[in-house]
Subunit: 171 residues, 2 copies
Amino acid sequence: MGKTALMKRYSRRDESDPARSCTENVELGGLADLIGYALKRTQLAVYQDFQRTFSDLNVRPVQYALISVIGCNPGLKQSQLGAALEIKRANIVSLLDELEERNLAIRSPVAADRRSYALHLTEKGMELLEKLQERSVEEEKRLASRIGQKGREQLLTLLREVRETADQLNQ
Amino acid sequence: MGKTALMKRYSRRDESDPARSCTENVELGGLADLIGYALKRTQLAVYQDFQRTFSDLNVRPVQYALISVIGCNPGLKQSQLGAALEIKRANIVSLLDELEERNLAIRSPVAADRRSYALHLTEKGMELLEKLQERSVEEEKRLASRIGQKGREQLLTLLREVRETADQLNQ
DNA sequence: TATTGTTATACTCTATAACTATA
DNA sequence: TATAGTTATAGAGTATAACAATA
């Protein structure tokens, strides 16, 4: 494609166009049809919904993820937690510090390997997880209210397949 | 759901379980079935693929977005660019500085409104956009290689619908 | 008064290197 | 030597407040 073709394709508007002053008329230049961009924008909108839904519990998405995995795998090590969530072990440290300071989780020494800690939720942590789970189910219903349960399952399948494809390319 | 039910649901494993030492056996506690988490993980994988694909051109996703929108809307203002991409105007500044330093885009004074600048791609910017577009088409094909063209369109539709749903909830 | 671009700032997420104590 | 956790640090992305110039 030569420059002339590019100009024709991309110069649909110019500063002389009165519509220029209207934000809604800004073209995204095909961005909206890219999987990566659609993923980012949708993820951001869903993330904002999460923040709104969980702000009174003072829980960010990453904290929800930690609590959920620790709750489901009591006794696991930090390195395992990080591997499961694809979070570098260096970045797990301060996240767990936060949970410990809030008395939601604890690090316990492991007799068999004194380098590592076994992670558990506290009573308070388990109670919070229960609340988070319940609210998460409601949030999920709201998010899927337009696409329906079938659409939701299709979406999860497509996302998993695209992720696996990208992971293979990234190997 | 009481604590006992929660324990039953979440304590499938314990530190006494020998499988504990195997990372693959860490349960995500339903995380994998949440739209938000699936979005995040897929977006991360696709983002990494983008970085790999465009690293030789030294272009990050956000830079691709800027170049694409400026190329498609020559003469638009920074505030319009930011509104179209949902980037705060304060954060647009340094991104545009980068593009100007690399001689990919320029800020031109606007006679009608001396507060704002009209944005244009340079020749070099237009040439880069052309390369980016071509490579983007290939990347899109690779990402959709498993789900197919039909799956890709389904995915984009579902993502748009979920985003619109979340945006409504966030209003 | 409101808007455009700018600066300063801060917080989160992510990534790497180097350190310690254990294995 | 290798591994688990830690610390320090740096780069991005995102958010707000305040400012100057202009409308």
